[in-house]
């Protein structure tokens, strides 16, 4: 469903979505992931998206946004899912654990990410640098017509 004619507000909506996703990570005690979600996705990748929108000079879509029934159906769908989530929570209050276990709380901290990433997952970590180099080369090949 398209609600915005212009591309920049749509990109803004995506940034807001990323920020709320970070809040969701935070409720799962994944602090590092939450911060990275904001710093990398909302703060770096979306800057590129906004730049590209400006770069390509994407104009506003010419069509008029019609079909109020789509909006109505969308809102009803959202409300339905929300009602379902709430009802599940109310039904399951007694069975849900009151507190997360200590190990689950520790899992998402920066310290535990660090100790795991640089010992058990050393190889994928080094691979990440190769992928990043490939991205840098790709960006330059794409953007530079005349390679000096």
């Amino acid at each position: 469903m398209v609600t915005r004619k212009s591309a920049v507000p749509s990109a803004l909506m995506l940034i807001v979505t990323f920020c709320f996703l970070a809040a969701l990570y935070l409720t799962l005690n994944a602090q590092f992931l939450a911060v990275v979600q904001v710093a990398v996705y909302a703060g770096a990748i979306m800057v590129l998206v906004v730049f590209v929108i400006m770069l390509l000079n994407i104009r506003n879509e010419q069509y008029t946004i019609t079909g109020n029934w789509k909006t109505v159906v969308g809102i009803l769908g959202v409300l339905g899912i929300l009602a379902q989530i709430i009802s599940v929570f109310i039904a399951a209050t007694d069975t849900l654990p009151k507190h997360l276990s200590e190990s689950a709380v520790q899992l998402g901290t920066v310290e535990s990410v660090g100790t795991k990433l640089y010992t058990s997952y050393a190889f994928p970590f080094e691979m990440a640098s190769i992928i990043l180099i490939a991205a840098a080369v790709g960006a330059i090949v794409l953007a530079k017509k005349k390679l000096t």
């Binding site: 920049v8 507000p9 803004l12 904001v38 800057v47």
Partner: protein
């Protein structure tokens, strides 16, 4: 807890707002002093009511929304800027915890946040949008160019800012700002342990706050007002407020990360009363912030603006490699010297 946090928020915001209005006056005095002029002295005794007059003037101006602007985003951009500028204040510890009638109160709005430093990084990276969107939505060519330049500048120097921070985190082994201060009390201020990191952080702070010599986005001779060319009244004031609030937060963050925050060396050896020590700590922290702010202003009125290619070259070809070298130096220092 919520009430306690709200009280602290109100106190901090009121202090910052008052500080900002008087910093504007101070900046005008300092510029006058450096240029051998008199400066504002007509409004009230010594010109002390000048901030009041400025705020009233801005409030009563007409709010102009250019016909070619994207109204909604034009309105949103200053709100983003001010939100980011204020939100960073939430994790800064303004002093050591004080004990009132048996209960300990921490002097940070949010204490024990174990992602502390990363929260600053995340907010700084979101802060770019305020300026990008202001430039894009105004519908003016000057604004667009200013906004684009500014956002490219800010993301470039964010890298150096992050690299400078990494060396601090390496030395202190924690991301929590209170923990970083404790580590500095134990092992010496970070300005001594990581001088290169401090230089990098200081330079990129100038770029992140868009202060001279990095105020390319609003280079008057070529870009008029830059990204806020089309802004008037309180919306313009919000950008102005955000710039000065950013200057305060940048100074506070630098004091915490590199100058030991509220710590004064050798003061606890004098055997003073703990409450007096706490008050002196807060005063010392304020003094450190003020010293940084004075430095910001001093530089502004002493050093000419960079050209844009010089600015990007400095960021990408000098500071970024230096930041990486700084990480290597700090790693070796930590492994071989501090053990």
């Amino acid at each position: 807890m919520v009430v306690e946090a709200l009280i602290k928020i109100v106190i901090v915001l009121l202090t910052v707002l008052t500080a900002v209005s008087y910093l504007v006056l101070l900046e005008r005095w300092i510029s006058a002093w450096l240029q051998d002029r008199i400066g504002p002295n007509r409004t009230g005794p010594l010109g002390l009511f000048q901030p009041l007059a400025d705020v009233l003037k801005l409030l009563l101006k007409e709010d102009i929304e250019p016909s070619q602007s994207e109204k909604w985003i034009h309105w949103l951009a200053p709100v983003i800027s001010i939100t980011v500028a204020f939100s960073v204040l939430a994790i800064i510890p303004f002093g050591s915890a004080i004990i009132l009638s048996g209960k300990s109160y921490s002097l940070a709005i949010a204490s024990n946040v174990n992602i502390g430093v990363l929260y600053i990084i995340a907010l700084t990276s979101v802060g770019v949008y305020g300026i990008t969107l202001a430039g894009w939505s105004s519908g003016s060519k000057y604004s667009l160019l200013g906004g684009l330049r500014s956002s490219a500048q800010m993301i470039s120097y964010e890298l150096t800012l992050g690299l400078g921070l990494v060396s601090v985190v390496m030395l202190c082994g924690t991301l929590d700002l209170g923990g970083i201060i404790q580590s500095q009390i134990a092992g010496g201020w970070n300005i001594i342990r990581a001088p290169l990191g401090f230089m990098l952080f200081l330079i990129s702070s100038f770029a992140e706050t868009n202060r001279q010599p990095f105020d390319l986005p609003e280079a008057e001779p070529e870009l008029v007002g830059g990204y806020h060319t089309e802004y008037s009244s309180m919306k313009f004031a919000l950008f102005f407020l955000a710039e000065y609030a950013n200057m305060i937060t940048a100074s506070a963050v630098m004091s915490v990360l590199f100058l030991g925050g509220w710590h004064v060396p050798f003061l606890n050896t004098l055997g003073m009363d703990p409450s007096l020590l706490a008050v002196l700590g807060i005063l010392a922290f304020g003094l450190k912030i003020f010293a940084f702010i004075f430095f910001f202003m001093w530089v502004r009125w002493s050093i000419p603006r960079f050209r844009y290619d010089q600015l990007m070259n400095l960021g990408w070809k000098v500071l970024l490699p230096l930041g990486i070298i700084n990480i290597v130096i700090t790693a070796l220092e930590k492994t071989y010297l501090l053990h």
